[in-house]
Amino acid sequence: MSTSAPTVPAPSNRGARAVEPRARSEAPRRRHALGQGVSYLLMAVVVLGCLVPVALMARIALSPPAEWRTMPVDWLSQPFTGSFRAVLSGNFPHALANSLIIAVVTTALVVVMASVAGHALARMRSRHKERFLFFVLGTRMGPAVVFALPLFLLATKLRLVDTYVAIIAVYTVYNLAFAIWMMHGFFLDVPPEVEEAGLVDGLSEWGVFRRVSLRMTVPGVIATATLVFILTWNEFFYAFVLTRQVANTFPTTIPGYFGAFQVNWGEMFAASTMGVLPPVVFGLLVRKWLARGLSGGLVE
């Protein structure tokens, strides 16, 4: 797949019209059609490659145990709801609710702090600004496994293991860095003249921030919030280390379905299906900003 795409002889319609004369010989046209055919084939392969694993997850979640290992998969057989019912009657709803609470609180904290800090940085004229931004960026490089050691020891000492406070504090910092980068970028797009006008109208600096700048960056705030939500929702390692049964989030329930001798694929995929739905929906809503957010605000 990787090697064939660029060599496919398929000039796009748009480009071909601009460059080539109207009358074309038979040969290039045939090649053109062939190239388009290959392109469409590749597109189909990519689409299926992305979707089949997800579809398979949902299909197994809706299949009785006897059909889990049957290949080829019968995509249209009668749905079996036993796995979903078992998962919903267990501890999973508690974990799902935790995920929601923790993600929402983290998102709110991060968005407020990142908006305020991002605005101040966007208006700052100081050599410290670059330094601060790159320090913030550096926080993204550190692997969770490394920071988890001291955080776990600290949380143990403060008796904060398995509390909302600990996990929310960690997630807030974990997301703050890229959120500041993103909001900083959005505030740079607000024309300074508009803010000046606000000052002339008698608003304080905070007033300008709240009533002028923030209102002009509402799409940016929404994009940032959604990304923080997705990343927090999906995070596994910190939750695995810092929570037990009280503040545990949905990903931490997944390893529990892998028994020593057998895996309860149906229930595990039922839990997974419910767990991945919110990020998929939100991800599609903010897809324009997704790549930028996932790169830690690095990529424009």
């Binding site: 480009g15 290949m71 969770a144």
Partner: protein
């Protein structure tokens, strides 16, 4: 708007305080920890032991093998996701019908929990599972990819590539859109020259961004924990044990926090050195968002 010093300080204080509390303190603590014998099970013998943890680590074969596995993991994940991602970006650039569907679908792998991705592929890769069936269907033989020491690590790395290839594709496609149309025309030429044009003409134009994407892919794959954990947990034996898994086992299964912290510091050094190398070598900073 020129903001006052007071405004700047007030606005930045909460974030800075939180960074200090939850980030700088732990980093300092890791250094301290790495120089101690700090076991959670055998507390009486905990004490400063200097660089002994690092000596142990350098002498341990299992550590070097984990470090090697991590590099292989990142290399495979990058070697697949970058070229395939660029190829998909070129496909997006053709603007055929259905491209918006393609773009939407590419979002899906990225927003899935990496742990769930690992679980789904573990199911698909089982012997006589979906991938096995698919390979037989197209006339190739399958095998128990995750159960064999020779294939387990590379298989997990390929799953990592599956999740992040769309990221490369979307970012590169966005960068290509900012290029003048004439540049992209070159990549659409028929015949044998297309590769050369792409390599010598199109890709150099977006080089800073490509380097940045490579950097992000390196950092993310190097610290990837979820997929190796759920798919093989380092097995069979230690054949797919990467540094994050190795560190996790020492810290949270053997409770040897001091040694694990030393491993963590080595990881940080490896990430910094490799990142600096990538940035210096290719001057990635040109591509950093304003």
């Amino acid at each position: 708007m020129r903001t006052s010093r007071r405004y700047t300080i007030t606005a930045l204080t909460p974030s800075v305080l939180l960074f200090l509390l939850v980030l700088v303190f732990p980093t300092v603590y890791v250094f301290n920890l790495a120089l101690r014998r700090h076991s959670l099970t055998d507390v009486v013998n905990n004490r400063y032991i200097g660089v002994q943890n690092f000596v142990d680590l350098a002498a341990g074969e299992r550590f070097w093998s984990a470090a090697w596995h991590s590099l292989v993991f990142s290399a495979v994940s990058m070697a697949v996701s970058l070229p395939v991602g660029i190829a998909i970006a070129l496909l997006i650039q053709r603007r055929l019908r259905g491209t918006s569907l393609l773009r939407a679908v590419l979002i899906v792998p990225m927003v899935l929990s990496p742990l769930v991705v690992g679980a789904v592929f573990r199911f698909m890769l089982d012997s006589r599972g979906f991938i096995d069936w698919l390979l037989h269907f197209v006339g190739l033989g399958g095998t128990a990819f995750l159960a064999q020491p020779s294939t387990a690590l590379i298989t997990v790395a390929l799953v990592d590539a599956w999740q992040w290839t769309p990221f490369v594709a979307i970012v590169v496609a966005a960068a290509m859109e900012t290029l003048p149309p004439s540049v992209m025309e070159a990549a659409k030429l028929d015949g044998a020259n297309a590769w050369q044009e792409l390599w010598h003409f199109v890709l150099p134009q977006i080089r800073p961004l490509l380097v940045l994407v490579a950097l992000i892919r390196f950092m993310d794959s190097f610290r990837e924990f979820d997929k190796p954990f759920i798919m093989t947990n380092g097995g069979p034996g230690t054949s797919s044990e990467t540094l994050p898994i190795y560190l996790y086992k020492f810290a949270f299964q053997y409770y040897d926090m001091g040694y694990a912290a030393a491993v963590g510091l080595v990881m940080l050094v490896l990430i910094s050195v490799t990142s600096t190398f990538i940035v210096r070598r290719f001057r990635a900073s040109e591509g950093v968002a304003s």
